[in-house]
């Protein structure tokens, strides 16, 4: 069987693997907010034993911190992060839910004071019965992560 890599290997950087197919775009969008100059290679709908189909994203020349990786968890909870140095995987971790998130997402409550003032949005995160719930530090309202929109 042909074991050739489906996306070209990178020398140094981060590979985000096992992203559920279709969610890669969201992760990509977020990555570009974090670092608009990064060299990024993407693969969508690649075959995967675990997921059937997966997306994969490779970021060259930049190794993610755990907090940065965890912030991506909201967009693709099953993904794994591989930190690459000299074409070898030197660190591998599964994302875990961060306890707080600052400046990434806008509060969906249009009457929340965080929209008009010189502050960053802040949420505390908690696993709810069905979904991750995000509670705004300012207006104290809780939202399912799916309705919280990204800041640009």
């Amino acid at each position: 069987m042909n074991k050739k890599l489906q996306v070209e290997a990178i020398g140094t950087g981060t590979v985000i693997d096992h992203i559920p197919a279709g969610h890669g775009v969201k992760v990509l969008d977020r990555l570009q907010v974090l670092n608009s100059d990064a060299r990024i290679t993407v693969g969508f709908n690649l075959p995967s034993d675990e997921l059937g189909a997966k997306d994969i994203i490779k970021v060259e020349g930049r190794q993610f911190t755990e907090q940065e990786a965890n912030e991506l968890m909201l967009f693709a909870s099953s993904a794994t992060i591989n930190v690459i140095e000299d074409y070898k995987v030197v660190g591998k971790f599964k994302m875990s839910m961060p306890e707080t998130m600052t400046g990434v997402l806008a509060c969906p409550n249009s009457n929340c004071i965080s929209h008009n003032e010189p502050v960053q949005s802040q949420f505390s995160l908690k696993q709810g019965k069905i979904d991750v719930m995000m509670k705004c530090h300012y207006c104290e309202k809780s939202f399912s992560k799916n309705i919280v929109t990204e800041l640009h």
């Binding site: 929340c112 004071i113 965080s114 502050v119 530090h137 309202k141």
Partner: protein, 307 residues
């Protein structure tokens, strides 16, 4: 006693634990018995009401003056620099540089939390949009303790608009520290929100729903009434619904003597005037207690030792 509040901002009831609440109530009871006109002597408090209010503002301002302090401020946001487009952050930086504490009400949720982050002195939240109104909860707790002798293991029925009523949410959350048992009496459209029910479940608090006040009056210690607002329904629907959530003398026929009725006020017609003269009416005393609860907070925040 150790002062748990010195220089502390009061933003949300969720920031207070049982011991914090008990300390405010103890000091409020003491000040009601033995007034002190020296505790805020030489202090200036800003009363910043970016949104109009009657009871909250007047009772805060009374509290400051009864304790010997003086006030600066405004009664609505219309004539302030907020109107010119100044951020709340800037307004509060300036106002806090003039004063020893800031009391504020604002139409946007989260305003008090944000103000506390930019203020150089403690901020007391007098209501931020539909979010929090912690001093209302403290005066509710003070009134309950005063009329029942305890806060522990009480049976409390909440009636009316349980969906939008921030006073109801905050009081229910506060009473979870005291093992209360709740009954909710509300139209389906105004039922207690799921996130509060979830919190009660997590804390193992017992609660149930009932159709009418009569049904539960005989086994209840506190009935907490709220107003069902006309604008939430069309006119015919409102007439039909509202009549089920009006407290009358007849509904209290089987009530035990110690049952007391509370209401954050203003009342419109959800408590019949005939109830006022029964021994169960406690809502005007509750409104009066607002001054003592707010005095207690101000005194604790601005003095190392109160008694």
């Amino acid at each position: 006693m150790e002062n748990r509040f010195l220089n502390r901002s009061i933003i949300s009831i969720a920031d207070l634990d049982r011991e914090d609440m008990e300390q405010v109530l103890d000091v409020a009871a003491e000040l009601k018995k033995n007034p002190r006109s020296d505790l805020l002597k030489g202090r200036v408090v800003a009363s910043c009401f970016f949104e109009a209010s009657t009871r909250t503002r007047l009772s805060f301002e009374t509290a400051v003056q009864r304790l010997g302090g003086s006030l600066i401020g405004f009664a609505d946001g219309g004539n302030t620099s907020a109107k010119k487009g100044e951020t709340l952050a800037d307004s509060i930086k300036v106002i806090s540089s003039y004063t020893d504490a800031v009391v504020m009400r604002h139409p946007q949720e989260g305003a008090a939390r944000l103000a506390a982050e930019f203020s150089s002195v403690p901020v007391i939240n007098g209501g931020d949009g539909s979010n929090q109104h912690p001093t209302q909860t403290l005066l509710d707790l003070f009134s309950i303790k005063e009329c029942q002798g305890t806060l522990d293991n009480l049976k409390v029925a909440f009636v009316g608009d349980l969906k939008y009523g921030r006073t109801v949410h905050s009081l229910a959350q506060a009473l979870t520290h005291f093992n209360a048992e709740f009954t909710f009496i509300a139209p389906d459209a105004l039922a207690m929100p799921d996130y509060i029910l979830q919190e009660l479940d997590e804390k193992g608090i017992k609660y149930s729903c009932a159709e009418s006040i009569e049904e539960v009056a005989h086994k209840t210690d506190i009935i907490y009434m709220t107003r069902v607002q006309k604008e939430r329904f069309d006119e015919t629907e409102f007439k039909h619904i509202a009549s089920n959530y009006v407290l009358t003398k007849a509904a209290l026929k089987e009530a035990p003597e110690h049952l007391k009725v509370l209401h954050p006020l203003p009342r419109v017609d959800e408590i019949a005037v005939e109830v006022d003269s029964t021994p169960h009416a406690y809502y005007f005393e509750q409104a009066r207690n607002g001054v003592y609860a707010r005095q207690a907070l101000l005194a604790l925040i601005l003095n190392e030792a109160v008694f």
